[in-house]
Amino acid sequence: MSDKSDLEKFRHETRAWLEANCPAEMREPVRDEEDVYWGGRNATFKNDAQRQWFEVCLEKGYTVPAWPKDYGGAGLSAPQAKILREEMSRIDARPPLSSFGIWMLGPALLHFGTEPQKKRFLGEIARGEIRWCQGYSEPGSGSDLVSLQTFGEDKGDHWIVNGQKVWTSYADQCDWIFCLVRTDKTNKYQGITFMLFDMASEGVSTKPIKLISGNSPFCETFMEDVKVPKSYGADSSGDIPAYVGEINRGWDVAKYLLGHEREMISGAGGGDRTSAIGAAMKRHAAKTGDEIDPILRAELAMFDVDALAYGAMGEKFLDEIKVGKAHPAQPNMMKYVGTELNKRRHELMMAAGGSRSLEWESEDTGGGKPARGWLRTKANSIEGGTSEVMLNVVAKRILELPGS
């Protein structure tokens, strides 16, 4: 009972705090890349509101609310973190800081990191000082990631890394990379190390990849004789290794992280905002004296059923994962459904927009946002594990079907 009233109290306080501290400009859905604050050495704020929102959250530990206070978080319990999320979403508050450090490296370090490693890297992430990118896929290793070839030659106190990564998100704007590197060519699964190094290191170069959307959120990353020390020094409590977990056991970390990535991507499909397409169409149609095509309306309705139901699934999944009730392979299912839904949503938005949504450069469409956004979603069911791989994992690990 006291737990319940404590949480109610927390909700009231949170609501009041958000009311007092979240600027009005930060209470609108993210419209484009500039609306997202990624942090990092070269970060700039789009406007004062974005800076102010980041700064008050930083002070409160709300850039990473569920992380322990020692590492820059607010140390919120799972139910408290859920309340904060709910209260932020209630007023459409934007995340104060977004980064692959928060979503992916952070959870890996929290799970596998040494104490001084956590203090240094998690702190930098929480304060938005270092922007991380992820070096996983290679030209020949997509779905079959474990076949990766980028090699780190052991030179005693350091490695010399050579190879190429692909689909590194925003590599050209990032400060550091967490990177899967083969350190033992004789052992496929237990021959990979999860390395951390500075993108400014000599021998690292990036090249943006132009996508069908015309945008370049991804890069190729080349590593040519890059020297990666095995340690970044030590503090009083111990060593700061340049790798997460153990040498040659990076695949364990990667698998753990892929779970997080799938959760993150799977969040894209649901939510209550989905029903906005139909309502907006109807408002627009009313202005022009048009009516929504009844077959399109029907498809929108079936989509909203699926999206709202998936929203409940997301909530249930988060609730269950906190108490260890969720099947460990469940993120694969969430990722599969969430990304397929998001693609469907954009198909419907294109249909709802008609010829207007085909415009590629016009001012009215913000430089072709509908079309470019639609094309971008086609990667959702490829990146972070294809839908087909997700279905394989569900078949094997959840349904326990034979020979899969």
């Binding site: 409940a312 699934m313 249930k316 108490v323 087909e388 349904l399």
Partner: protein
């Protein structure tokens, strides 16, 4: 509130799972009564046993002799009913009629609830008038007559209508057929004069009636709630019934899916277990995803309903629509993946397909509810 069962609910689920698997199995109930051509379509002994378990009156208030539980708990029992395809008057009596009677006078409660709690009574609800669920249009009329009413019109798809000791009938006491207001709910007793049932066996072996009211004379105290004030009660009853039907549908879906996945692990063709074929694995995984989501949205809707949330209306329609689609997929994939044996009467998977079809239609199918979702979402 977390979207999973709390400790008490988990305990109830264990009990219900075990009880329904033992007593409500296809062999003991559905197939048994179907083969006997039972005119009720369900077994009264099991209904009594369910009363002894406390199930029949579980959502009845404690003051009225029930357990005072909610839609989450009723859903737990319904999911097991669905999984075992147990023919049972639980949904119509213990969820729909019981929800309506919550709004009734003490006199009405005293007349009907003890029989429900003890398992001696069975109730039905008469809402639909055409072959599609359309509760916005009610043409059955109840005219004032002396101190009471005279009921005229006809209802269809009255599940257990001929077996019921009392039927909750939605009738019009004022206004035009499509009016929102002017509805009154009546508790019509079995022995009412001028009421006739045309019983029809349905595809799932359940028995429904086309029921005619040819000037049925009712006392004023047969009114549930207020005269002309029935729409709200009807809506509340429909919400509970739809979420209940969704829970039962989740059970049907899971039962069919489990049976099918088991079959994929046993059946060999081309020298392999057919579950090794990726063509089937991907379809099974997709089905699993859909059923999990159906389960999630159903417990969400149950909790919203129990919490009197203003989103309960929307989410109960989302749940009914989503479960209809997911369970429909489960039974279709079930029969297809079983191959020839799935088409035989001897094998149980076909029963799932039949039950699902009837359940999809009951209280509005996926199209009906998706349409409502669109409407409530402003388009």
């Amino acid at each position: 509130m977390a979207l999973y069962h709390d400790d008490d609910q988990a305990m109830l689920a264990d009990t219900a799972t075990q009880f329904m698997a033992e007593q409500g199995s296809i062999g003991k109930q559905l197939r048994h009564w179907r083969d006997k051509d039972c005119p009720d379509g369900f077994g009264h002994d099991l209904w009594k046993q369910m009363a002894e378990m406390g199930f029949t009156g579980m959502i009845v208030d404690e003051a009225d002799g029930g357990l005072g539980m909610g839609n989450v708990e009723a859903g737990i029992v319904l999911e097991e009913i669905g999984r075992n395809l147990t023919p049972s008057p639980f949904l119509t009596s213990s969820v729909l009629a019981a929800s309506a009677l919550k709004h009734g006078s003490n006199d009405l409660k005293g007349r009907y609830l003890p029989g429900l709690v003890s398992g001696d009574s069975v109730f039905a609800v008469a809402i639909d008038e055409t072959a599609k669920h359309r509760p916005d249009r009610i043409t059955t009329r109840a005219e004032k007559s002396g101190n009471g009413f005279k009921l005229s019109g006809s209802k269809s798809f009255v599940i257990h209508g001929a077996s019921a000791d009392m039927i909750v009938v939605a009738a019009r006491t004022s206004g035009a057929d499509d009016d929102e207001e002017g509805i009154t709910l009546f508790a019509v007793p079995k022995d009412a004069s001028n009421m006739s049932h045309d019983a029809v066996r349905l595809v799932d072996s359940s028995v429904a009636t086309h029921t005619k009211f040819d000037g049925v004379e009712l006392d004023g105290d047969a009114v549930i709630g207020e005269v002309d004030g029935g729409r709200e009660i009807l809506d509340a009853m429909l919400r509970a019934g739809r979420v209940g039907a969704a829970a039962e549908g989740v059970g049907v879906a899971r039962g069919a899916m489990d049976m099918t996945v088991d079959y994929l692990k046993q059946r060999k063709q081309f020298g392999k277990l057919i579950g090794e074929f990726q063509a089937l694995q991907h379809r099974a995984s997709h089905l699993y995803s859909e059923v999990e989501i159906a389960k999630a949205v159903t417990i969400k809707a149950q909790q919203l309903l129990d919490g009197n949330s203003d989103r309960a209306e929307l989410m109960s329609s989302v749940a009914k629509a989503k479960v209809s689609k997911a369970a429909g997929l489960a039974v279709k994939e079930g029969v297809q993946m079983h191959g020839g044996i799935g088409m035989t009467d001897e094998y149980d998977i076909g029963f799932y397909m039949k039950r699902d079809r009837a359940l999809q239609e009951f209280l509005g199918d996926a199209y009906f509810h998706a349409g409502r979702v669109a409407q409530m979402s402003g388009y």
